[in-house]
C-alpha cells in the first residue's frame, strides 16, 4: 500500500476579482514508503498548495488524500513540514527550536525531548550552535534547524516546501548534498517541492512535473541514477538528459512560454507556490 495516495484532487481559490482560479485540476499521485518524490514546476502550478493539502493545512474541494490508508483531516504527527522560510521562533535557541517539533506531542518527558532534539541538532551539523539564537545564524544554518525540527517529530513523511529557495546558489547546492546524507541516514518518505530541475534530479527517486493554469501533472519521470549520490553524479550523461527532458516538459506546460495567468490576480496562497 502506498504511503501517500492523492486521487483526483481539485482545488480553487476565490480571487478578489470574482473569477475562480483553478489551482489544482484532477491531480492523482502515489508516494511509496521510503521514496524520495520531488514535485517540480513553475510558480503558480499549485505544487505548494498540493503539499499543504497533504500536510492537512488546507482542505481540497474535490478528490481524496489518504496517508497510510486514512483520509487527511488536518495536520498530524506522522507528517512534518520543512517550511520555505525557516519560520523559527526568534526567542528560542537552536536546541529549543528543534524541541518544538516534539514537545507538543506530549510523547516524552522534558529531558527526553531535549536529548532527542540534541541528536538531530548534531545530525544536521549544528552541534556547536545549539545555544545560538536564529538571528545569529546564516540562512543555510536556519534551514538546517528547520529540517532538524521536522525530523525530531518522528514523522513517517517529510514534506519539504522549497526549503532551499531563499539560499544563495552555492549554499543551496551544499544543502542538497547535506539533505542526501541525512535522508540516507533516516530513510524517511519525502515529498520535496522545488522549481529547480537539477535539484530534483540530484535528490529524487521519482519526479513529477507540473504545469500551470490550471495546476496539473504533466508527466512522471523515474530517476534511476545510483545512490548514494554526490557531486560526481552531475557528470553522468543521464543527469544532463533528465535535465533537458524536464526543462522541455515545463516549457510545454507553460503553454505559450509566458505564464498564462497574470500573477496579480492570483490569491496569495496560490502565488507563493
Amino acid at each position: 500500500m502506498a504511503r501517500i495516495s492523492v486521487r483526483h484532487v481539485s482545488m480553487a481559490f476565490q480571487a478578489h476579482t470574482a473569477a475562480r482560479h483553478l489551482v489544482l485540476s484532477d491531480v492523482t499521485l502515489q508516494v511509496e514508503d521510503g521514496e524520495f518524490l520531488t514535485i517540480v514546476g513553475p510558480s503558480g502550478c499549485g505544487k505548494t498548495t498540493l503539499l499543504n493539502l497533504i500536510a492537512g493545512l488546507l482542505r481540497q474541494d474535490q478528490g481524496a488524500i489518504d496517508v497510510d490508508g486514512r483520509p487527511v483531516t488536518g495536520p498530524g504527527p506522522a507528517r512534518a513540514v520543512v517550511f520555505q522560510e525557516a519560520a523559527l521562533l526568534p526567542w528560542r535557541t537552536v536546541l529549543r527550536n528543534v524541541e518544538l517539533g516534539l514537545e507538543m506531542q506530549h510523547k516524552y518527558a522534558r529531558p527526553e525531548v531535549a536529548e532527542r532534539a540534541r541528536h538531530f541538532v548534531l545530525l544536521v551539523g549544528l552541534g556547536d550552535f545549539a545555544g545560538h539564537y536564529p538571528h545569529q545564524l546564516s540562512g543555510g544554518m536556519r534551514q538546517r534547524v528547520n529540517l532538524a525540527r521536522a525530523l525530531v517529530a518522528e514523522p513517517d513523511v517529510l514534506l519539504m516546501d522549497e526549503p532551499f529557495a531563499s539560499l544563495d546558489a552555492y549554499t543551496r547546492e551544499a544543502m542538497g548534498y547535506e539533505l542526501l546524507r541525512i535522508w540516507q541516514a533516516t530513510r524517511k518518505t519525502v515529498v520535496f517541492v522545488t522549481h529547480s530541475a537539477d535539484e530534483a534530479i540530484l535528490l529524487s527517486d521519482r519526479i513529477i512535473a507540473m504545469g500551470t493554469a490550471p495546476g496539473r501533472i504533466l508527466e512522471e519521470l523515474k530517476v534511476e541514477l545510483p545512490r548514494p549520490r554526490s557531486l560526481e553524479i552531475r557528470a553522468l550523461p543521464r543527469f544532463t538528459e533528465l535535465g533537458l527532458e524536464i526543462r522541455a516538459l515545463l516549457a510545454r506546460g507553460m503553454g505559450s512560454g509566458l505564464a498564462p495567468d497574470g500573477a496579480e490576480d492570483q490569491p496569495k496562497a496560490a502565488r507563493t507556490c
Partner: protein, 251 residues
Amino acid sequence: MAKLIRTVILLRLTGLVAPLALWQFLSWIGILHPVFAPPPTKVLIRALLLPGEAASHFAITLGEIAVALILGSVGGVAIGVVLAQASRIDSVLGPVIWFVYAAPVVAFTTFFVVFLGVGPAVPVSLGVLSGIVFVIASTRDGVRQIGDELIKVGRVFGASRSELALRIIVPAAIPMIMAGMRVGVGRMLVGVIVGEFFASGGGLGFLIIKYGYELDMERVYAAVVWIVLVSLALNGVFGRVERIFDAWRTH
C-alpha cells in the same frame, strides 16, 4: 557621539534645574508665598524624609500599582489575543474600548465606590481601567502582525489552542505588547493615584489630599515628586524590556 550625548544630558539638566532655580530665587525675594509655593530645597528635604514618615502609604501605593499592573497586563493580553482572532468580537468591543480610552476615568470613581466600597479595590480598578486599553490595542495589533508561517508551524507540530496562544502567538507579539505596557503603566499609576484621592484610606494619592487640606504644601509636592519618580522608573524598566525584545524583530 559621546560628546553629543553629553551635550544632550547637559541641556536636559538645564531644562530641569533652571525653572527650579528661578522658583527658589522667587521664594527668597518673597514674591512666591512660602506656604502655597514652598521653595524647592524645602520640598526636596520633605521628599527625602517622606518614605520614613509614611512608609505604609508608599507600600499601599506600590502594592496597588503592582496588582493593577498584573491584572491590566494579563487581562489586556488575553483580551487582545481574542480580539485579534475574532473579528466579530473586535467589532462589538471596538467602540467600548475607544470609549474607555477617551473617557475621563475619574468619572467612574463613584461607580466603583458603590460596588466595591472604600478601599484599595477602587484605585486598583481605576488603574486597570486607565491602562488596559493600551495593552489590549498593542496586543491585538501585535498578534495580527505575526506571520502566517509561525501559526502553520504550531499547527503542523500539534499545538493545541492554548499551546498555540502561549508558546507561539503571545511570545511572538511580546515586542508590541511591551510597547503598549510602557504607555499603559504610566496611565495605570495615574489611575491608582486618582482612585486614592477619593476612595481609599491610604497611599500617596490619599496623602496629597490629606496634606492639601492641612495646607502642608511642602509634603504635597514631596508626594508628587515620588509619584513622578515611580512613573519614570516603571517607564524605564518597560523601555529596557521593550528594547531587549526588539532585537528579535530587527533580525
